[in-house]
Symmetry: C2
Subunit: 122 residues, 2 copies
Amino acid sequence: MPVRHQDSLPAEEVRAGKRTTRQVLIGPEEGPNFALRRFIMEPGGGMPLHTNTVEHEQYVLRGSATVRIGGETHHVKAGDVVFIPAGVPHDYTADDGAEPFEFLCVVPNREDVISLVDEPAC
Amino acid sequence: MPVRHQDSLPAEEVRAGKRTTRQVLIGPEEGPNFALRRFIMEPGGGMPLHTNTVEHEQYVLRGSATVRIGGETHHVKAGDVVFIPAGVPHDYTADDGAEPFEFLCVVPNREDVISLVDEPAC
C-alpha cells in the first residue's frame, strides 16, 4: 500500500528508553535505501546517552525536549530539524508538560549497532 | 549546526509545479546517504504527472491533497505516510481550502532525472 495513516501502524516500546515508543512508518522491506520511523517520548521520558553506527536525519513534529549531541546541549521543538552524524553520542529528555515529544527519524538501511555511553557518576 | 528551525531555511519555487515551494532541510553536503526536504503546496497548487529515477518516502505534515500514484488515486492528509517507488508516475493536487498541503520527502543522494508524463487530452 503506497499510502497509510500513522495510527494504523504498530508502535513498540524502546527498551533502552524511558516512556518511549517507536513506529516503523516505511521499513527496509519497502524502501530500498532508508527507513522512516516515528518516535514518541512521553513528558519526562527519553533515551540515555548512546551512539549509533548510522546517522540520523530528524524532524520534530510536536512537543519539545533537551537533546545533547556530541557534548552540546540543544532545546528542540516542533519544526526543528536535527542531524546526528554516525558515531556521535546523543541523548533525549522530553520536556515535562502535557505534550509528548514526537519526531521522525530517518536512518539508512544498514546494520545499526547501538552502544550506551557510560557517564561519570559524581 | 546539528539543530536548526525550518523557518530559518530558504524556500525555492518548484518550476514544474504550481504554487509549490521546496526547502532542503538536510542536504547531501551534510547527510551522507539521503536528503530531507519539505514541500508546501498552496490550496489548488501541486505538481503535474511525472516520474523520478529515485524513490520518495513522504510524511504529510499539514493539509490534504489528491495524489495519484501509478494509476491509483489517493486522498492524503496530515499523519499519512506515502511511499512512491522509483519510476512510478505520480502527481499532487492540494485541496482547495484555507490550509496549504505540506509534506516531508526523503530521497537518496543520487542523481534524480524528473520526466513529465504526457496525459491524453480528450
